[in-house]
């Protein structure tokens, strides 16, 4: 069940890397917004993790350690190239995100468009804290910044995201109405028009 902290480690931590391939890839896609670039990033990160496995402290959060390698590789590559890698054919956007939204308000495609426009730093903090289940402390450790920085960056990222979607806190459709009421009103409004 639980790993004993003392004594010889039960297994080689290298054998655990495989458990995090899917989450590394999801994080890489969140950062790059491009599947080919994400896969190259995961590949480089696996090699780095394998090579520097002695830097991993058994018993600590391996996912966080792998994510740190991955995001450091991403930002360092990005500095080297100093230009954004685009998805010229829009392959990723076209293939992955065609499912219809099921909540009437924040239409998912609109959300993704806004999300894509965020800086990678903003996407990173939102995905780590808002979606991957990392605590602010874990995110801070992964990103190599203070917890306060994580919180303020996440807050700015949310504001930017809301702004990109044309939604302002406390304004318009969200003001004092529940989602169902708003959705119904939106539909009937459209039929009447």
């Amino acid at each position: 069940m639980t790993l004993r902290p003392a004594g010889s480690p039960r297994g080689n931590p290298r054998d655990e890397i495989i458990l995090y391939l899917a989450s590394m890839r999801a994080f890489a896609i969140s950062l790059t917004r491009n599947v080919a670039a994400a896969d190259d990033l995961v590949q480089d990160s696996i090699v780095k993790a394998w090579t520097h496995i002695d830097k991993f402290q058994p018993g600590t959060n391996m996912q966080g350690w792998l994510f740190t390698i991955l995001r450091n590789t991403f930002y360092s590559d990005r500095r080297k190239r100093s230009r954004e890698v685009a998805d010229p054919e829009g392959v990723y956007a076209a293939t992955l995100y065609e499912k219809p939204a099921h909540d009437g308000k924040l239409v998912f495609n609109d959300f993704q468009r806004a999300f894509d426009q965020l800086s990678p730093e903003h996407r990173e903090v939102l995905i780590l804290v808002g979606a991957s289940g990392f605590s602010c402390e874990q995110a801070a450790q992964t990103m190599g910044v203070a917890v306060g920085t994580v919180k303020s960056r996440a807050s700015r990222a949310r504001k930017r995201l809301a702004g990109l979607m044309g939604m302002v806190e406390g304004e318009d459709v969200l003001d004092g109405m529940d989602a169902n009421t708003t959705a119904v009103m939106g539909r009937s409004g459209m039929q009447a028009a």
């Binding site: 290298r14 899917a22 999801a26 969140s30 924040l106 998912f108 939102l126 806190e169 406390g170």
Partner: protein, 52 residues
């Protein structure tokens, strides 16, 4: 206590929806099949290690 737990209905509802969409973005990527190349890479690294 903190901003995200605010009782302001507009704000918390907006954040709630942002969180739902963020989860969906992440989960869709997470649920994709992991390409074989990564397992093959790990196998190759393991093989190389065994030879050393």
């Amino acid at each position: 206590m903190n901003q995200l737990m605010s009782n302001d209905p507009g704000k918390s509802k907006l954040n709630e929806q942002i969180d739902q969409n963020l989860k969906r973005v992440y989960d869709e990527a997470l649920n994709e099949e992991v390409p074989d190349r990564f397992r093959q890479l790990l196998d190759a690294l393991k093989k190389k290690q065994a030879e050393q």
